[in-house]
Assembly symmetry: C2
Homo-oligomer: 457 residues x 2
């Protein structure tokens, strides 16, 4: 008999997981700490929109939501860089016109909840889980009105986010390793509305970046014609949130650093002083599961910073992999959860590291001509050697190659690109036969180094 499943958290990952498990014949209940976002006016969590890429789409397809979400997803084909001098440049992500997609977090979450309920999942809102007795699989919850309640879980998944109650209950057990740390940068959301005629004020199909070395602003398009801007900025030091305390200081700062954006932001001061300044956490824990009884999934297992746009994608991929393991191993939950942990934990660690590294890339390196040159060469190499070379960015964003494989390719790609760039102008060199032989050799060497890795077939 199929086990009944309890899920903590009706966020993106919890709701999606519920659908996939229900489709596989399990009884599924979700306990969600917040009110129902479909009836209450509350935010959807830590950001307004997110970037969906192929790992996310694959999971939505399994859930049967892909086509519907595609209608309201805005493709972003590249980075639109806004330099400090007011100049701008578009930098395409993929060599085949691939895109990442700006999606409303709230809209996606509401659709997932509704679909879950249509499939027969019970969602209990306003039930906050304090802690889990891990060995006994008992949830200690506070129900609406403050009543204390315990629930005996059969099979339990913690999809309850970066501050997961299941995670912290795991972390108190002997020989469970846990770590979390915050960036010295926080973030604040701001807004660029449409113009008076209702037109978008920036290029629609791009992820906009204002890279400023130690800080940056980004903007993602929304279907209502607005852009959500996010300022990633140090909490302390100069400049920092701590130092921008008056309207004059904020205006002067934006005029200096974001001259082309500030005129598009009529509610800047209102947003800046009205919206919260939020922190950015990365979490690690090991193991991710307990015997055949429970496991962590999504942010609860691996909360990461948002700079690769992979948080939701990684969580959805957790669900895809778990669903595949259930299809493979039936009701052998010791094997399913053990294998899930073994396969996903290294990927959780890898995507956390990739996301941290991409912050430096986005705020600092993308403004560097050398970096732009490298991106161009990477794209060219992909065209010249389609069987042998795919850039790390493409692996992460446009493929299902495991994150830890992508990580493992970084050093070899750095070496390869270092050699190529040390020879001077790439386009010029390629015209010369002698260089191409050289390039073939380097590429074979690179390919030899990485081909034993798991590229997920």
């Amino acid at each position: 008999m199929a086990r009944s499943v309890t899920i903590l958290g009706a966020g993106l990952v919890g709701s999606l997981l519920a659908i996939l498990l229900k489709k596989r014949g399990f009884d599924v209940s979700i306990y969600e700490r917040r009110p129902d976002m479909r009836v209450a006016t509350i935010g959807a969590g830590r950001s307004i929109n997110l970037a969906m890429s192929v790992r996310g789409w694959k999971a939505l397809e399994l859930a049967g939501l892909r086509a519907e979400m595609e209608q309201i997803a805005i493709p972003m084909y590249g980075r639109y860089l806004h330099q400090a001098d007011g100049s701008a440049a578009f930098q395409q992500y993929g060599k085949n016109n691939e895109a990442i997609y700006s999606v409303s977090r709230g809209e996606l979450n509401r659709k997932l909840m509704t679909l879950a309920e249509q499939e027969g999942v019970n969602i209990y809102f306003e039930h906050r889980c304090h802690r889990v007795d891990v060995a006994e699989n008992i949830l200690h919850l506070e129900a609406p009105g403050g009543a204390q309640k315990t629930v005996q879980a059969d099979l339990l998944f913690g999809a309850d986010g970066a501050f997961s109650a299941l995670r912290s209950s795991y972390a108190q057990r002997d020989r469970v390793n846990a770590a979390h740390f915050y960036l010295e940068h926080g973030y604040k959301e701001l807004c660029i509305p449409p113009d008076a005629a209702g037109n978008m004020q920036l290029e629609k199909n791009a992820l906009h970046i204002w890279p400023r070395r130690n800080f940056m602003m980004i903007a993602l398009p929304n279907t209502d014609g607005t852009f959500t801007c996010t300022l990633f900025f140090p909490f302390e030091g100069s400049p920092s949130f701590e130092r921008l305390t008056t309207e004059q200081e904020v205006v002067a700062f934006f005029n200096e650093h974001f001259p082309d954006a500030v005129s598009l932001m009529p509610t800047l001061l209102e947003d800046f002083f009205g919206n919260p300044t939020s922190s950015l956490i990365t979490t690690h824990i090991a193991p991710w599961h307990y015997e055949d009884k429970s496991a962590l999934i999504g942010d609860a297992a691996h909360a990461i910073v948002p700079f690769y746009g992979q948080g939701m994608n990684a969580g959805f991929e957790d669900c895809t992999v778990l669903a595949g393991l259930i299809d493979q191993h039936g009701d052998d939950w010791a094997t399913i959860l053990g294998e899930y942990d073994r396969r996903r934990k290294p990927n959780g660690d890898a995507v956390a590291a990739l996301a941290l590294a991409n912050f430096v890339e986005m705020r600092d390196k993308v403004a560097d001509p050398q970096f732009l040159e490298r991106k161009k060469i990477e794209k060219e190499l992909g065209r010249m050697y389609p069987e042998q070379f795919i850039s790390v960015y493409e692996m992460v964003s446009f493929s299902h190659i495991p994150y830890n494989t992508a990580m493992s390719c970084i050093r070899a790609q750095d070496e390869l690109l270092g050699k190529i760039m040390s020879e001077g102008d790439f386009t010029e060199n390629v015209k010369q036969g002698a260089f191409n032989t050289q390039l073939d050799n380097w590429m074979n060497q690179y390919h030899g180094e990485v081909q034993q890795l798991d590229f997920g077939k």
Copy 2:
């Protein structure tokens, strides 16, 4: 008016801190989770004895307990190595006959508690702190009998060990970083009693080590003629605790790996199956303090593995440094706690790293002839260049040089010793004038590299 101080934990560090604060005119209360170890028969915490070195002695001197403790401390002048083939060798620690001292943890703790009470400190036993409201400085306690109780602290110190309630309350706050991890090795205490005539069965004034690459046993002398042995051993794998499940397996294992010890251990099987297998945790947190209201100290701030014998010494040094800052800054607690954090946190991180590295040294490297040769050369260099060279081991164990300074010297010492050892037999080489010029140059280079570090005057 001096603030009143609340301390969580009447262990070694909490009791010592209470004495030092009381001597400085503060009202001091301690809440201790366990019963009074002076009247109840309970263990003294995680190990029976510990190795006191100069940092610990200095703090005891400040407390006025040094002379009394010296009476019951057993000096250990070096490592006594028991090789797998049954051979043995003594390896002196210092060049000036320095020693570390085997001290009974329970005895020391009882004396500290008694002295604290004599000074006028109130100790509330069997008060378990669940959590602290950090911003309000309110302790939530369970009093004897299970009654819930809150205490408003004025100034609070968490000396409540590796699983500190204050630490975990800090860790739940925004932008507080925290990590903990366990070794894959656990430990179990065993015993070597005196012989029938009441004589100690191993050399008294040494720390005995049975280094066996991936595991080891050590033994420290006690004043009652026994030795406390500790087996540090993997939880899983082969060999491991998991694999030693029958009496035959244990006997066979000890006969194979500890042939010279097993005959001295009449209660081996009783001890092995009766004593717990304990885990080994390292913890990090930042920051260590909250405004002018509270701070962590000792294991609560930096729980470390025991392999450098520095856990208690580091905690006592925290107290010494804090007392010095109070003497310097009066009642400016924002400055005192801020400066305490700034100075001690890097040292907590350093001693944690040193302790982890010394596990590899003790169980693996000490059995290596190259390592023994290096130790000999280090001692000789200290004699030849007393102003310029002091080994990292000596810095940690026989000096008050900050731990992070010792850490910073490792690379430069590795380089220096690498050069020296690559030239062949040191004693032979020193006889030749040409080598000594070389040596002078290398030493000057080393000294130049490290002399800008803080050696604590």
